[in-house]
């Protein structure tokens, strides 16, 4: 399986995501430069976390104009799997691939800590490795993670089961005390209508190895791997990444 991690100027979880895709899961992973207009036949595209363009103006606002985003949109339209993590989620929102926007955390501070998440949808290409209602532990690290949409849209999202993960207590109770940032309905992850584009604020790549404290995030990538394999059982040959990016692998 071929996986691509998009590198925007200011992306800083690109290496981390690449590491999990390549070395923990053993997929044929590559970096995709923001200036590239095509996606090198990848089966899964990940928009990693970080501070694309410094998060200046608004989080994700400038990255959406990158040439690669045209390709990502086209890829998503054709049913390709796209995962946006943290800043990647914000970019997908700005690009119109996922609804809503992220406001500043209600505490007005950057928060970096592990949180508990209740899995609401485990029937998706992104989440089949989990049990319904399972509580997952993964870190968050963001300043703008307070999910907002209009009340009508929120209703629509809820009615259509578009919420994938919610901030919860360790026992899975969804309550205000477990809401780290003020997100509406404790929403931490969303899926698009077609089920092939997901955005999540928590960092699964930081919770994919036991030595880092949790393996709960690995299920996202494992699910995707299975989904791709069942869609396309042919195992593809690995090729080298695009020129000029090998230094990023240090």
């Amino acid at each position: 399986m071929k996986t691509g991690v998009v590198v925007f100027p200011g992306s800083n979880c690109d290496h981390d995501t690449y590491h999990v895709l390549k070395h923990v899961l053993g997929t044929d992973a590559r970096f995709i430069w923001h200036g590239d207009a095509h996606l090198h036949d990848c089966d899964v595209i990940v928009l990693p976390g970080g501070f694309s363009y410094g998060d200046y103006l608004r989080t994700g606002a400038i990255a959406r104009f990158s040439p690669v985003m045209q390709a990502v949109k086209e890829f998503a339209r054709r049913g390709g799997f796209v995962l946006g993590i943290c800043n990647g989620f914000q970019i997908l929102q700005e690009a119109g691939l996922l609804p809503g926007a992220m406001l500043r955390n209600r505490g007005l501070k950057f928060i970096c800590r592990p949180v508990d998440l209740r899995a609401e949808r485990t029937d998706l290409a992104f989440t089949r490795a989990y049990e319904p209602g399972q509580v997952l532990r993964m870190p968050i690290a963001h300043n703008e993670g307070s999910f907002y949409v209009s009340p009508e849209e929120l209703n629509h999202l809820e009615r259509n089961g578009r919420v994938v993960l919610r901030y919860s207590s360790p026992s899975g109770e969804v309550c205000d005390a477990a809401n780290p940032n003020g997100s509406l309905n404790n929403i931490a992850a969303l899926i698009n209508e077609e089920g092939n584009v997901m955005g999540m604020m928590p960092h699964p790549e930081r919770a994919s190895e036991l030595c880092l404290g949790s393996e709960d995030g690995k299920g996202i990538f494992v699910s995707l791997l299975k989904a791709v394999e069942s869609k396309n059982p042919r195992i593809q040959e690995s090729k080298n990444g695009p020129r000029g990016l090998s230094f990023l692998n240090s």
Binding site: L57, R58, A61, I62, F65, Q93, E94, P99, G100, A101, L103, R104, N105, R106, G107, L108, S146, Y148, V149, S150, P151, G182
Partner: protein, 85 residues
Amino acid sequence: MMLRVFVTLKPSVLDPQGMTIQKTLAGLGYSQVEEVRQGKYFEIRWAGDLSAREERDKVETIVARVLSNPVIEGYRIEWPQEIPA
């Protein structure tokens, strides 16, 4: 020419920064401050001729598409005085 642009959160969107400022000020004894909403303010030096409608459309596009996010924000453009609104 100098343009001024104001981007504000839509009235229905909660503004935690504004609320915190209001609370702080109330705490400091300024009970007159009933509400604070925080927005962004841009000063743009524009090299084109803004008396042309096309030029103004470009500005409008930039502000609507780049400087603000329609999901949560509204905006207002203040043209240089010599330009009609």
